[in-house]
């Protein structure tokens, strides 16, 4: 028999997209579900809840991670950036603009995770060749089959830097 989980809610403060958000969570709540269900930031998507698809990719202190694989409570004091915080209100990040230009999405569901992953990848300083970008983006599954266009978009932004 499982031990009953601790269901006591504690109010923590999450720094998301530059703003402090007090949020009451049980210890078992993932960062993904805290963002989506408690803070209403539904741009970050759930695809597998097992760290296998990358739809839930966010940046924590500049690193891209699967937000379904980590608990919200572990991130007090961290800088969390989601798709909603990639660009200033009303503006597009160059990666977002390039995804539109190159049609790097169809259904659009994996797209927030792809874009957050791509923004972090550019900061990581990956090699400029196609194959290197492909490998560095292979943690984000796209079922519509937009991979070539995702790479085109990233290469264009990388070239401009």
């Amino acid at each position: 028999m499982l031990t009953a989980p601790n269901t006591t809610e504690t109010t923590i403060v999450l720094n998301v997209n530059g703003a402090e958000h007090p949020v009451a969570v049980e210890p078992r709540v993932t960062l993904l579900d805290a963002l989506r269900d408690r803070l209403g930031l539904t741009g970050t998507k759930k695809g597998c809840d097992h760290g296998q698809c990358g739809a839930c990719t966010v940046m924590v202190n500049g690193r891209r991670i699967d937000s379904c694989l980590t608990l919200a409570m572990m991130h007090e004091g961290d800088r969390i950036v989601t798709i909603e915080g990639i660009a200033a209100e009303g503006a597009l990040h160059p990666v977002q603009a390039a995804f539109i230009k190159h049609d790097g999405f169809q259904c659009g569901y994996c797209t927030p995770g792809q874009i957050v992953s791509a923004v972090a990848l550019l900061a990581e300083g990956v090699a400029a060749e196609r194959g290197a970008v492909q490998k560095a983006m292979s943690g984000n599954l796209c079922r519509c089959g937009c991979y070539p266009h995702i790479v085109d978009a990233i290469l264009e932004v990388r070239g401009e830097r």
């Binding site: 499982l2 009953a4 989980p5 269901t7 078992r28 709540v29 579900d33 989506r36 269900d37 209403g40 539904t42 741009g43 970050t44 998507k45 759930k46 695809g47 597998c48 809840d49 097992h50 296998q52 698809c53 739809a55 798709i83 909603e84 990639i86 660009a87 597009l92 977002q96 603009a97 995804f99 539109i100 230009k101 049609d103 999405f105 169809q106 259904c107 659009g108 569901y109 994996c110 797209t111 927030p112 874009i115 196609r130 492909q134 490998k135 983006m137 292979s138 943690g139 984000n140 599954l141 796209c142 079922r143 519509c144 089959g145 937009c146 991979y147 070539p148 266009h149 995702i150 790479v151």
Partner: protein
């Protein structure tokens, strides 16, 4: 207007919403007072529930109710028509397949419902499931999508017996799960006996009809809203059990309920592409002219439902073969109901036929492309009708030229590059094109803005963009002035968004409606009358079309195979497709590329693996059910052979979402044979099959 709008590679109009994470999918919907439900799936594939202990779950913090076959509202779960789907709605204790729903836990949060579900204990009386395709009881279906399941022309047995050259082989394709990244999910809300559903679906009107039948209520009392759909590929064309379970739960607790199917549960009651076993015989003259083809198909179905993977359609309709026969038989297994997946029948059927033709080409010592050209059909070999348009020859020629097919030498296992075996292969693509009745409402406001409403859905095919382009060109206004509303049964009725039929159906209705609007404006001196204009029209195909309607293409592939590890990489893919009128060159290319990616995936990766002793899925997650990653996919070169096809439908379009998956797996298997000398007749082409 100087530049034509139709065909222009415009950016998707919903692009900014999607790249900002602002596009709303069903999974993003929350309503006031909403509870969360999680399904408890069965852990056996056949038998019955003896006892279900939900006391611990009921006592868990946050759990509001547990629904089992003891307390579920009584509803109609049986199908109404032969092609409908029986649902599994906690009405009985019988278990027919792995992960069939046995309980639903409803709680104040997703976490509480998930934990509650882990506490439900079901005790079963299991029976050995029927899981063997070749030995399970089988039957012959009466029809496949309204057409005969058996078909014969000429005397194929005699022609085969007399054929100077013949190939007789069996090809196998596995069970495949669609696995859209947005899993199926539903939000249900009752108000005074009226039901509102948000559902991730390919057919709002289909859901409305079926859910109304489940509850025995007037469909007018049901509203189905479908926001953006996060991938579907056929899997969301049928209303599966969880949709009704969500509505039942909402009734039971008298509050709105949201249910998200987990990734592991996607391998349960959600449909899949059925595994097939296809026996093919092809016989030809020495010069390669085909004299006979026979194609006998086994495709799995479930215990009480019928789905036919119509593989034979591909061989029936493609080449000029005087003597032909196909048959389909359905073994009944302890699985959930199979369903259509991107190019049903023709994706799987093309693997068999186009592999067999490649084998024949080696028997003949004839170039595989030349073999296809020698059997080119000028008229539909099935109906004898002329084609509304066909530019397959141009597809072959242009793709072969771009690919430089002439460099191919016939010897197998003869080319190496950097230690890798290199092989070239090709295959023909073909997908039948059809359409259904669709209605649209057109409104033009006094300021000139046009709003077109249709209850179809948006799953990434570009509908809001291409329909704005179509209407704007006819009305001679900027496309930004046209807005397309979709995804709601309060809008005019649309058909199932599948089978590559949406642009042919909805797009045609828009052409007719926009043309009418233009004429009305012309009669009014070109001015919008005070109060604006609003009207609704329905457009439907003729009962008997005078032309055969089919999309074609050709795929040329270069693979590298690691001789030590058996790993296959597709390093080049050139596909050319005759596609009717292209509405938007950018979104069209994306659809063709998507189909090629699915073809590569079918060839090399996808297979749902069952433990056939107990009927359970062994790889029910995205780490073990392989779909391609970015690094697995080359940059396909797509050639769109534009054609004006005024006969096919008012929009002059062929479906383009599916044709490019057809033939792709065969082209890759053929290239792998050329590289290695190993003929793989059972997909996927995994490394161990190449280590000989």
């Amino acid at each position: 207007m100087s530049q034509p709008l139709i065909g222009a590679p415009l950016d998707r109009v919903e692009g900014p919403l999607k790249v900002r994470g602002e596009a709303k999918y069903t999974i993003d919907i929350s309503v006031d007072d909403m509870l969360h439900a999680v399904v408890v799936p069965s852990t056996i594939a056949r038998g019955r529930i003896v006892e279900i202990d939900d006391a611990a779950a009921r006592g868990a913090a946050g759990v509001v109710a547990v629904m089992t076959h003891h307390n579920a509202p009584r509803v109609n779960q049986a199908r109404e028509t032969p092609h409908d789907t029986n649902l599994f709605l906690l009405q009985r204790d019988a278990i027919e397949f792995d992960r069939q729903p046995v309980a639903l836990v409803i709680a104040t949060s997703f976490e509480a419902a998930t934990y509650g579900a882990s506490l439900v204990r079901a005790r079963y009386e299991p029976e050995p499931p029927e899981m063997q395709l070749d030995s399970a009881p089988r039957y012959v279906p009466e029809d496949i999508f309204g057409e005969p399941a058996k078909h014969r022309r000429g005397d194929p047995a005699r022609a085969l017996a007399n054929a100077p050259v013949a190939v007789h082989q069996t090809y196998r394709t596995p069970t495949e799960h669609h696995n859209p990244i947005e899993t199926h999910n539903t939000v249900a809300q009752w108000r005074n006996g009226d039901l509102t559903l948000h559902d991730s679906s390919q057919w709002a009107f289909g859901v409305r009809r079926r859910i109304a039948a489940v509850f025995g209520i007037d469909p007018e009392r049901v509203r189905v809203i479908v926001p953006y759909v996060g991938g579907a590929f056929g899997s969301k064309g049928t209303m599966w059990s969880h949709v009704a379970l969500t509505a039942m739960a909402a009734k039971l607790v008298d509050r709105p309920v949201k249910l998200v199917v987990t990734r592991a549960q996607m391998f349960g009651w959600i449909g899949h592409r059925p595994q097939t076993e296809q026996r093919i015989s092809v016989g030809s003259e020495r010069d390669g002219r085909l004299v006979a083809v026979t194609h006998d198909v086994l495709s799995e179905t479930s215990l009480h439902d019928e789905f036919v993977e119509a593989c034979g359609v591909f061989s029936r309709d493609l080449y000029a073969v005087p003597n032909y026969a196909m048959s389909h038989a359905l073994p009944r297994l302890n699985i959930s109901k199979p369903t259509y997946q991107r190019s049903p029948g023709e994706s799987t059927g093309s693997f068999a036929l186009e592999s067999a033709l490649d084998e024949l080409s080696y028997e003949l010592g004839l170039d595989p492309l030349e073999l296809r050209l020698r059997n080119y059909a000028q008229r539909d070999p099935n109906s004898g009708k002329p084609y509304s348009s066909k530019h397959l020859r141009e597809c072959y020629v242009q793709a072969a030229q771009r690919f430089d097919w002439s460099r191919r030498t016939p010897q197998v296992r003869a080319t190496r590059r950097d230690g890798m075996l290199v092989g070239l292969g090709m295959a023909t693509s073909s997908r039948s094109t059809f359409r259904s009745a669709a209605s649209v409402r057109v409104q033009q406001h006094e300021d000139g803005r046009v709003v077109i409403g249709c209850g179809t859905i948006e799953q990434g095919c570009g509908s809001p963009t291409v329909y704005a382009q179509l209407a704007a060109e006819i009305l001679e206004i900027p496309y930004e002035r046209v807005q397309f509303e979709f995804g709601d049964t309060r809008l005019p009725a649309a058909p199932l968004a599948a089978g590559s039929q949406t642009s042919g159906s909805v797009g045609s209705a828009i052409v007719v409606a926009a043309t009418q609007l233009r004429e009305r404006l012309a009669r009014n001196g070109g001015r919008v009358p005070p109060g604006g204009i609003s009207f609704e029209i329905e457009e439907k195909p003729e009962e008997e079309e005078p032309y055969a309607t089919q999309g074609f293409g050709a795929g040329f592939v270069e693979v590298e195979v690691d001789p030590d590890l058996g790993e296959v990489r597709v390093v080049r893919y050139v596909g050319a497709f005759d596609s009717g009128r292209i509405l938007n060159a950018k979104t069209a290319r994306s659809q063709f590329v998507g189909g090629v990616v699915w073809g590569i995936s079918m060839a090399l990766f996808e297979k749902t693996r069952y433990d056939r002793r107990n009927g359970r899925v062994m790889n029910a997650d995205l780490a073990e059910y392989l779909v391609p990653t970015n690094a697995d996919i080359p940059n396909p070169e797509i050639i769109m052979i534009e054609e004006d096809d005024p006969h096919i439908n008012p929009a002059h379009v062929k479906g383009i979402g599916e044709v490019s998956i057809t033939g792709a797996a065969a082209a890759i298997a053929n290239a792998v044979y050329h590289a290695t000398g190993v003929r793989v007749r059972e997909l996927p082409i995994t490394p161990e099959k190449l280590l000989t």
